[in-house]
């Protein structure tokens, strides 16, 4: 409990500092000026969502291999956290694109891939809500999760072949590209901060899923006990009626 509180405070402080650094410490970008500062949260939220989906993919495989419920809980938690981070990326992206590209949205490879990824994991969460039996829900949603993740490189490749507009990666780009040293430091800081936030939320969500599962099991147990005792009552009544007949 103390550890969790400490972690929460630490991540909160880290996020505050990252926000401060992105707004006040980094130098102005040459052509985009203030608008460019959204980049320090747009890129980290995208990589956080992608890491979360990757964790979900690994958890799905691990569940099918081991059949341990923990992996299923981790899978659903990571998928949910990934969808939230992905939504952030999808909101911050257009906010940046409108002043810079002149349009809110364009059907570029990276944008389309992220959008399809977001749709796929939302369907994953929907599917989980519609299968009642827990064991079956875990197995079938894990199979779907694996299919969904396999689809991502295909979506990316198909769009890459087709049309692309998203700025090419500047950090590992060729000659003449690259970030100011302060910029890359702040970007690194924001990456770490958002990643820590993602892990924190993921751990909490995982714990919630375990509690929820425990509650479900307890509830089922109570219900089955109720049934047993009501059966007992019936038997008791039957014996009473028999004895009443005997008395007659």
């Amino acid at each position: 409990m103390k550890l969790r509180l400490a972690a929460t405070v630490l991540v909160f402080a880290l996020m505050l500092f990252a926000g401060y650094a992105a707004l006040f410490i980094v130098p102005d970008e040459r052509t985009m000026h203030e608008i460019q500062r959204i980049f320090y949260f747009h890129v980290p939220s995208w990589s956080a969502s992608f890491s979360a989906f990757f964790i979900a993919f690994v958890a799905n495989i691990a569940y099918l291999a081991t059949r341990r419920q923990q992996w299923d809980s981790l899978g659903v938690s990571a998928a949910e956290v990934g969808v939230v981070a992905c939504t952030l990326g999808l909101i911050t992206g257009p906010l940046w694109a409108k002043p810079v590209w002149g349009v809110w949205w364009t059907w570029d490879a990276r944008l389309t891939t992220t959008f399809i990824l977001w749709l796929l994991y939302i369907s994953y969460l929907l599917l989980r809500g519609l299968i009642d039996e827990p064991g079956r829900r875990a197995t079938l949603s894990a199979v779907f999760g694996i299919f969904a993740f396999l689809d991502v490189p295909l979506v990316y490749m198909s769009n890459r072949l087709w049309r692309t507009q998203h700025p090419a990666p500047v950090i590992f780009g060729g000659e003449g590209s690259g970030l100011d040293p302060t910029m890359s430091k702040v970007l690194g800081l924001c990456m770490v901060a958002v990643f820590c936030l993602m892990i924190l939320v993921l751990v909490d969500r995982y714990r919630l899923e375990c509690l929820r599962r425990e509650l479900d099991e307890l509830r089922q147990e109570v219900e089955s006990r109720d049934l047993d005792s009501s059966k007992g009552d019936l038997r008791g009544r039957e014996s009473q009626t028999v004895s009443a007949k005997d008395q007659l």
Partner: protein
């Protein structure tokens, strides 16, 4: 019994079942025609426009038809719990899946064989000289739809609202297949027709990836 033979037996059973009623095929073909006709109201079906939008229209019709026609392939087994009987049979679970995939491939292909000429007539797109290459694109695209669709039919068979869930799961997964098959078909409808090999390779890769995935994961789909 080898997997191939067992899959053949399942295929024969699926075909016999369908040919008794022909419900699925009739409904799918009519649905496809409805989509093709409705699209003529969405844009002006002149020759130039048809060449531009035709491939997309055709594949959207196939995708919708596929996502609607595939769910009975497992849902049908549920009313009499016949999937338990299949499970008890001494055959691999991949054989069950493969048999159903083959049956669905035949159903969707039949629908396509009827729909493509209808489309060609209604939108004034000439098919002469490109039939062989068009069949190649159709076959590769249909395999992709059917492989993922049959797996997802097995998944949604246990969920509520399965008629709605299948398109919801299937259509986003098929986005890369839609792009590739539309582009390949568009390269055929162009003047002069020249098949874009990159997209054909992409379609084949899509089929291989998901066929392998369903071979690896088939045990989890038909288990109790």
């Amino acid at each position: 019994m080898t997997t191939a033979r067992a899959a053949g037996v399942i295929l024969a059973k699926e075909l016999r079942l369908e040919l008794r009623t022909r419900e699925l095929l009739n409904a799918t073909v009519v649905f496809g025609i409805v989509v093709v006709v409705l699209f003529s109201f969405a844009f002006d079906p002149t020759v130039a426009e048809s060449r531009r939008y035709g491939p997309g229209l055709l594949w959207i019709a196939f995708l919708f038809a596929g996502s609607l026609m595939l769910h009975p392939s497992f849902a049908r087994e549920q009313s009499n719990d016949t999937l338990d009987a299949l499970r008890l049979a001494p055959i691999s679970s991949f054989a069950i899946l493969l048999g159903k995939m083959l049956a669905n491939f035949i159903f969707l292909s039949v629908a396509e064989i009827i729909l493509v000429p209808v489309f060609s007539v209604l939108y004034n797109v000439s098919l002469s000289g490109i039939v062989g290459r068009l069949i190649l694109v159709l076959v590769l695209g249909t395999i992709g739809i059917v492989v993922t669709g049959t797996v997802f039919a097995a998944i949604v068979a246990h969920s509520r609202m399965r008629e709605l869930m299948l398109p919801l799961l299937l259509l986003p997964i098929l986005a890369p297949l839609l792009i590739a098959s539309v582009e390949a078909t568009a390269s055929l409808f162009a003047d002069p027709p020249a098949l874009d090999r990159a997209w054909v390779t992409f379609l084949a890769a899509f089929d291989v990836v998901f066929m392998t995935a369903s071979w690896l994961l088939c045990d989890f789909l038909v288990e109790e």
